[in-house]
Symmetry: C2
Subunit: 217 residues, 2 copies
């Protein structure tokens, strides 16, 4: 067991990130802190020198949390990952647990829970908390009601993402078809496929999905 750890943090909100750096430096067993604005920047830092723990915001532009984690887990399996997220409803959590992420914290946890989580993932490989427990519970429920389990969540294709973005811009299928030189029917099929994939059954669910996964804003 190491006495102290290198911790990196990636978050696009500078104020939050810098404040977190400050906070992390107050933790006695954190010896070094670096910060990155997005996933790409974090990977650059990591290539130069690997940390013990990486704290990653799930909602980021440029390279989002999920994508960043995938890279890190594949190329730097020794780095422990703590995900920060806004919403407990997050549909990706289970998927990311399977991927091998080590902890999930809501942004409204207490600083000392973060501290405990850091030491826990560094030493015991995983930090189990209420958020994780509730996601597991939800997954069981989903299976019972016959809904698509969260971890079967498929990624959207480029075309699908493009159409989702236009839906979120308040365009109808007809308008999207005109803009992309596609049949209205094709666009509608894409939308149905997207709804299938993300597990919702109306347009409101799509917009929420877009917000919650960082596809927009």
């Amino acid at each position: 067991m190491k006495a102290s750890y290198k911790v990196y943090i990636a978050d696009d909100h500078t104020l939050f990130r810098k404040a977190m750096v400050n906070l992390l430096r107050t933790f006695p067993r954190v010896e070094e802190v670096k910060d990155a604005e997005n996933g790409k920047e974090l990977l650059t830092l990591i290539k130069y020198e690997a940390p013990d723990v990486a704290i990653i915001d799930l909602q980021m532009p440029v390279m989002d949390g999920a994508e960043t984690c995938e890279h890190i887990i594949q190329k730097f399996p020794d780095i422990k990952i703590i995900i920060l997220t806004m919403h407990d409803s997050n549909k990706f959590i289970l998927h990311m647990m399977e991927m091998g992420v080590h902890a999930f914290l809501l942004k409204n946890t207490e600083p000392d829970e973060l501290e405990r989580a850091i030491y826990s993932v560094a030493e015991k490989d995983f930090y189990h908390n209420d958020l994780v427990a509730s996601v597991l519970r939800k997954n069981v429920k989903d299976r019972k009601t016959g809904q698509r389990p969260v971890f079967q969540q498929a990624e959207l294709t480029d075309r699908e993402t493009e159409i989702l973005l236009l839906i979120c811009r308040e365009l109808t299928m007809k308008e999207i078809g005109q803009r992309l030189f596609l049949s209205e029917n094709t666009v509608r099929n894409h939308r149905v496929n997207i709804m299938e994939k993300v597990g919702v059954n109306n347009i409101v669910g799509l917009v929420k999905y877009a917000y919650e996964t960082g596809v927009i804003s």
Copy 2:
């Protein structure tokens, strides 16, 4: 000119809030920092002892940023207010400028800009930055294109907010009617009125409005 200031901060994300408290304490001319989880709690603190500057997250549950500001400005006109917001697209900024808010910062500003803003509002009553400038520009554009100017934005009634929330939970008008013991028609009328008020013409616009103004998540 005072040598140092009392600063309070209200934000529902504990981790961010606590980290901000830490950060604020590193500012040499900030002598005291207190934090609150929401608007209501902030007002309680203020009633006990008024700060020089209040930093408020626009997106909060319980009592949101806009509501909190209104209270503070009316009852404690000496307190300077700095608003923190995620999105630069925020429809309320102009309205709140008219209300008398003293500064607006995106959550991705640098810590030292926050520091400058605190001293500026405390001494010169206002902190003018790019965000404010861009909102003013947008407003001019809106007037030109004949769109509803941002500051004419009407507030939603309690019932309307209640229904907007249920719409965002992916319920249809029928389901909302059943839940609230209302006619489906009544719910639909409310929705039309909401769409009128917020200046959109479909449900996607409503959900986006809810996200961007902090009505949800």
